[in-house]
Structure formats: structure tokens, C-alpha cells
């Protein structure tokens, strides 16, 4: 099995929304810069945007300002956000949307040519082909795209990040990409908890099932500081097909009703703000209704007219085509039967919530030479796709500036050898543990002891300590994993990454001894929000030599 050596000025890991935008940005500013994108799947249809997108939910309509955007995010996240990061995102939102429109994305407009308002901070797009459009923009630059190469670890000499290792899924080769700067843009982590669809439909989930938290795990292993993993994300979605409820609620103004047909938010949750409550309270109320025997809950689609129904179906075809099949099934017509909603399993993401790398305003991580953008970057929730583009722009600009005067370093042969043998070990084992077994064990530990669906997302110390213990055992067994082919090997590598992410997540959940974010982080043993103590960031740094995760707090 061969080793491929590739040199770059800037290496981008992950060719998704952030990665593609960063490559285009670098080309605009410095056309001769050698950019390499390392992409696990194929850049044309990979990651979160593979399915398409029907709305951009971070946009400043006339009358709104970066300040008003920051206030909104701060309120939604109970006072704990990085205002400097959210502010810089808000400043760039409208510009990046315009840029992507020019790349070819169709956006709904009013007669005077402005974008039509879909919700308060939202516009309607026709984004079935958003990913191919971004990939096409990348193709017009000189960027070298390495498709089907899964990143395995950073190349770290103890002082700076000087590239990354990867495994070629198709050619079976080991890749060593040296770079003066690395932008990590791999997305967040799914598959940590038991999914709400079991068995044969286990991948029918909200987030891309192949976003295994690899970017987080690589940073964790190299000792990067991470923030706010305890701020998990749980989406409220259409049952079985995980289609976004916002498309129905915002798109055609359907109300949330319980099994009795009551407007339950208004009737029972007035103290949380009724229909004007925070995003997480919509989920909390839905969970509480089920506990009170008034579930399941629905979005009332029975009053839709023909035009609304058609519009709704178009929106879903652009983003979640499965729901069209659900509605085509026997007795599932949305005009006759309201659409059932439920919470998903928890995910670790920095685009909806704020789990990720601790970064400065210029998107530098705590490791020299490493920059973060998009879902892997922490502290700036509700950035969504447009915020991700802004972050990519900032990270690209900073990386370009920082590489001036930096030269490529030779990679130590010993480092290459060690990583290559770590990555390939599962293929050499004739017998051992299957990745599927590790996956199921991990998900069961997390579901039961770290606040999964089966315990209504609730957490408390004793269970979390048990999760810590079991995860440490599980990590000890990972060296016994076996893989029979490349596809299988990628699954094994994903297991390793997910376990590293889960262990950090559990430490964060143990550390925050209060209840800050309903459902996302609900402590049964500390049920109140405690502003006197916990208006702070919970951060962590992993120490590989001792296998310890050290917690640190950072002020707002």
C-alpha cells in the first residue's frame, strides 16, 4: 500500500458549505495560493447539504442590524454565546447570500427584486442543487479536490499544525498532505446517541449520518481547546422522516397542537412565552405533553389550501424528499391528518447550537496553524448555512494573512509510520469487534446514561459518571476492531472519532452543574438556571499522554 505526499499552502478539511466557500474566497484574494480540499465523500453531493436546502435562516431583512441579530441569539441561548463571533457573522450574512446567489442559487424574490421575507430572519431558496452549485464554483478555481479521502489526524509537530493525514477509500492509499495552514470544516457529530428510528431505518436521521465528528476528534487528540459540547442540539422534527417542522410552521403558519387538538404552547406553556417561546421550549413542551398523557403532538396541516400544500411539497422536495413519500402513503394525506412531530436524538453541532473549537474573532483555534469554520467552530449558535459561509470567509482571510513567511515543513517519517499503522490496524485483524458493535454499544451508553431519547434527554451526576466509566472501557477495546474492506475501515475510524467526541461531551455535561438549556442540557440534580455561577463557558483540553480531559472555564 502506497503513501501519497501532497503539498499545499492551505489545506481545507471537508468540502461542505464552509470548505467550498473558503476555497472560493482564497482564490478570489490570492489566485496563486495552492489550495487542497480533503473530502470524505464526493464534493458534488456531500455532507449536510447533500439532501438540499429550502431556506436560509440567518439573513438580515431591512430594519435589522448585526446588533439586533446578536440580541436575538443571546436571548435564544440564555445569555451564553460568544457575542464577538456572532456579531462578525451577522455583519457578513447578506453579502455571502448575494455571492451564492451569483454562483447560481435561486432565491425567492418580491416584485421589487428584494428577497421575499419568509420568516423574521429567513428567506426561501430553491436549494436542491446548492451543493453542486458550490462545487462548480470551486471547480472554477485552481483548487485540488481530493475526493473519497477520509481525514484521520492532523500532522502536529508539537508547535504547529502542518497538515493532515488521510486514507484513500477508493485507492487504499495513505495520504500525507503538508500545508502552511489548515482550515478544519468537517461539520459536527451525528451517531453519538441511539437514533429515534431504529434498525433498518437507523440512518433516517436529522443530521448527515457520515458527519462522525472527525474534525472535533482530530482537534481533541491534538490538544485543541473545545467549548460548549454540553450545549447539545435536539431538533423538533416530523416523526419518522425527520423533515423540518419550520418548513410547515414558518412556511405555511401551521400551529402546534396536542392529541386533544389544543394549542398546547399557548394553553399550558404561557410562562415560557406560549407561541413566542424559545426554540428549545417548543421541544420541551412537546416532551412534557407526552409525559402528561396529552401526546403525541402535531403540526395542524388540515387547514392547508391547495396552493399552500403545493408550495409545502415543493419546499420539501428541495430539502427532505422522504416526507413526500410519507404523505403519499395510505392514510397520511396532510390535509386529512395533522403531521406528527417529535424530538430527534441529541447531536453535537456548532451551527444550530455551539459545540466546537474555541476560536478567536479571526477564527484561529488554540493550535497554531489551525483555523475553524462552520459546524466545527464553537461559540456561535444559529449560524446556519449563511453564517457558515461568513465564517469560512473570515477563516480564509486570516489563514492567507498568517501563512506569509511560513514555509512547508518536512513531515517526520516516524509520525507517518505511526499514524499509518493506527489507521490500517483494523484491516490486518482476522477477527475482533465489528464497528457496528462498537456503534451500538456507544449509542446505548449515551442514550441511557448521558441523556438520550429513552430518558427524555435528562441528565444527572450518577448516570454521567457511569457513562464516563463505560466510555473509558469502550475506548480501551477500540484497538480490537476489525474491518474486512475499505468501507468497513471507514466505519471503524468513525467509531474511534465518535468515542473521543462522546467522552469530551460527557465531561462537559458533568461540569455544568445547573440547567441552562431546556432538553439540550437539563440536569435533574441541578434543575435551576444559576446565573450567579454559570454565566460562563465550559471548555476542555484533552491530554493524550495521560488520557485525561481537563476542564477550564472562560468568562463571557
Amino acid at each position: 500500500m502506497g503513501t501519497m505526499h501532497i503539498d499545499a499552502d492551505i489545506l481545507i478539511i471537508g468540502g461542505g458549505a464552509a470548505g467550498c466557500f473558503a476555497a472560493v474566497e482564497i482564490y478570489k484574494k490570492s489566485p496563486n495560493c495552492r489550495v487542497v480540499i480533503m473530502e470524505k465523500a464526493h464534493i458534488e453531493r456531500s455532507g449536510c447539504l447533500a439532501m438540499g436546502l429550502n431556506a436560509i435562516n440567518a439573513y438580515l431583512h431591512s430594519g435589522q442590524t448585526p446588533e439586533s441579530y446578536v440580541s436575538y441569539v443571546e436571548r435564544e441561548f440564555e445569555g451564553v454565546i460568544r457575542k464577538d463571533l456572532v456579531y462578525t457573522i451577522a455583519q457578513g450574512l447578506n453579502e455571502v447570500v448575494k455571492d451564492v446567489e451569483e454562483m447560481g442559487l435561486p432565491i425567492e424574490k418580491t416584485e421589487d427584486g428584494t428577497y421575499k421575507k419568509r420568516g423574521k430572519r429567513s428567506i426561501r431558496i430553491f436549494g436542491e442543487r446548492l451543493k453542486p452549485i458550490l462545487a462548480e464554483a470551486v471547480a472554477k478555481t485552481g483548487t485540488q479536490v481530493l475526493n473519497r479521502i477520509v481525514a484521520t489526524n492532523f500532522i502536529y509537530d508539537g508547535d504547529r499544525i502542518c497538515g493532515a493525514f488521510g486514507y484513500g477509500i477508493r485507492d487504499g492509499k495513505f495520504y500525507v498532505v503538508s500545508a502552511k495552514a489548515v482550515i478544519v470544516a468537517t461539520g459536527g457529530a451525528s451517531g453519538i446517541y441511539i437514533p429515534n428510528n431504529p434498525g433498518e431505518a437507523r440512518h433516517l436521521m436529522w443530521y448527515c449520518p457520515w458527519n462522525a465528528g472527525t474534525g472535533y476528534a482530530m482537534g481533541i487528540r491534538a490538544g485543541a481547546e473545545m467549548t460548549s459540547f454540553e450545549n447539545r442540539f435536539i431538533a423538533l422534527r416530523v416523526k419518522d422522516v425527520h423533515a423540518p417542522t419550520g418548513t410547515i410552521a414558518v412556511g405555511v403558519h401551521a400551529k402546534q397542537i396536542n392529541a386533544r387538538g389544543e394549542d398546547y404552547l399557548e394553553l399550558y406553556y404561557k410562562h415560557l412565552g406560549g407561541n413566542k417561546c424559545l426554540t428549545q421550549h417548543r421541544l420541551l413542551a412537546t416532551v412534557e405533553e407526552a409525559k402528561a398523557g396529552r401526546g403525541p403532538c402535531y403540526l395542524d396541516t388540515t387547514t392547508l389550501n391547495d396552493a399552500d400544500e403545493r408550495r409545502l411539497k415543493e419546499d420539501f422536495l428541495n430539502m427532505n424528499p422522504q416526507i413526500i413519500l410519507l404523505w403519499a402513503s395510505e392514510g397520511m394525506d396532510p390535509r386529512k391528518k395533522p403531521v406528527e412531530i417529535q424530538g430527534t436524538e441529541p447531536f453535537v453541532v456548532g451551527g444550530h447550537c455551539q459545540a466546537g473549537y474555541w476560536i478567536d474573532k479571526e477564527r484561529r483555534t488554540t493550535l497554531k496553524g489551525l483555523y475553524a469554520a462552520g459546524e466545527v467552530a464553537g461559540g456561535a449558535p444559529k449560524k446556519y448555512v449563511s453564517g457558515t459561509w461568513v465564517e469560512a470567509r473570515i477563516a480564509a482571510t486570516t489563514a492567507l494573512e498568517d501563512i506569509k513567511g511560513v514555509s512547508l515543513e518536512d513531515v517526520d517519517g516516524e509520525l507517518i509510520h505511526t499514524e499509518k499503522s493506527r489507521v490500517l490496524t483494523p484491516l490486518t485483524k482476522k477477527s475482533g469487534i465489528f464497528p457496528s458493535e462498537v456503534r451500538e454499544r456507544l449509542q446505548k451508553i449515551m442514550d441511557e446514561y448521558a441523556g438520550g431519547i429513552s430518558v427524555n434527554y435528562a441528565l444527572h451526576e450518577e448516570r454521567l459518571l457511569e457513562a464516563r466509566r463505560l466510555l473509558k472501557c469502550l475506548k480501551g477495546r477500540l484497538k480490537d476492531m476489525t474491518a474486512v474492506n475499505n468501507y468497513n475501515l471507514v466505519e471503524a475510524l468513525e467509531c474511534i472519532d465518535r468515542v473521543d467526541v462522546a467522552r469530551v461531551l460527557v465531561e462537559h455535561l458533568i461540569c455544568r452543574k445547573e440547567t441552562r438549556w431546556a432538553c439540550y442540557q437539563t440536569r435533574l440534580d441541578y434543575p435551576e438556571k444559576d446565573d450567579s455561577r454559570w454565566l460562563t463557558f465550559v471548555n476542555s483540553i484533552y491530554h493524550a499522554e495521560t488520557d485525561e480531559i481537563k476542564m477550564v472555564e472562560r468568562p463571557l
Binding site: R45, A50, L105, R170, H203, L317, Q322, L325, A328, E330
Partner: protein, 127 residues
């Protein structure tokens, strides 16, 4: 090596009729002449592959996200999307055709009724 299917320990071909995506071997031409079939090239989960008979297949139905990328990219519409809970969706299916600037979707419901959607997907110069 990449084409081995660890799930296929016995003949489970019947399963393709009830899960996630259905590839019609009578229509699939395996994208002959291309180094990879188009579905194999773009599946975000690396699930599609080309069998020895040059027909496309999915290696693990339970790993499918139902993102429909393969349904859209298949040049001969050999692939349709089906719900994993086909037992109750009772034959409903969805197909797509990509045009330069629009996507055409056809959905068949449980009663065999057909509905078509033509949706803009890309701005062309001058739009």
C-alpha cells in the same frame, strides 16, 4: 476490495424491494464507459457500488440516509426513493430527473395516483 459486501452473507436480494432506494436492474446500464457509476461516485455515504454484471447496487440498506442524491443523479432514472417503512407506505415511490436549470419530480402514491413537480434548481445567466 471496495466492492465486497460484508452484509451479503446470504442471498438477501429480496430486500431491495422494500427499502430506502430501489434500483431497477432492467433500467440500470451501470454507466458503462465511466470509471464509476454516477450513484457510486456521488453517494455521500459511499453505499452504491457496481456489481460484476455492471449493475448498480446498494451495500447496506440500513445505512441509507434517503437523501435521494442517487435518485436525482441517475441519468436513466433507474433508481427510486422508497421509505424504509415500506410496509405501511404500500408502494409509494419517488423519482427525479435533472435538467440544467430545474428538477422534475414524479411521485406515485399508495393508490397509484401520480403527481409531478417541476422546480427551479439553478439560475441561468440573465435570470
Amino acid at each position: 476490495m471496495g466492492n465486497q459486501n460484508p452484509m451479503r452473507v446470504c442471498n438477501l436480494d429480496l430486500r431491495v424491494y422494500v427499502m430506502s432506494i430501489f434500483i431497477d436492474e432492467n433500467i440500470c446500464n451501470g454507466c458503462r464507459g465511466l470509471p464509476e457509476a454516477r450513484c457510486e461516485r456521488i453517494c455521500p455515504g459511499d453505499l452504491c457500488y457496481r456489481k460484476e454484471n455492471m449493475k448498480a447496487a446498494i451495500r447496506d440498506q440500513s445505512a441509507c440516509w434517503t437523501c435521494a442524491c442517487c435518485v436525482k443523479e441517475c441519468p436513466v432514472q433507474a433508481i427510486e426513493l422508497r421509505l424504509p417503512f415500506q410496509a405501511y407506505s404500500n408502494g409509494a415511490s419517488l423519482k427525479a430527473r435533472l435538467k440544467r436549470d430545474r428538477t422534475i419530480w414524479t411521485v406515485w402514491d399508495a393508490g397509484g395516483h401520480q403527481e409531478e413537480f417541476i422546480i427551479q434548481a439553478r439560475r441561468l445567466k440573465g435570470d
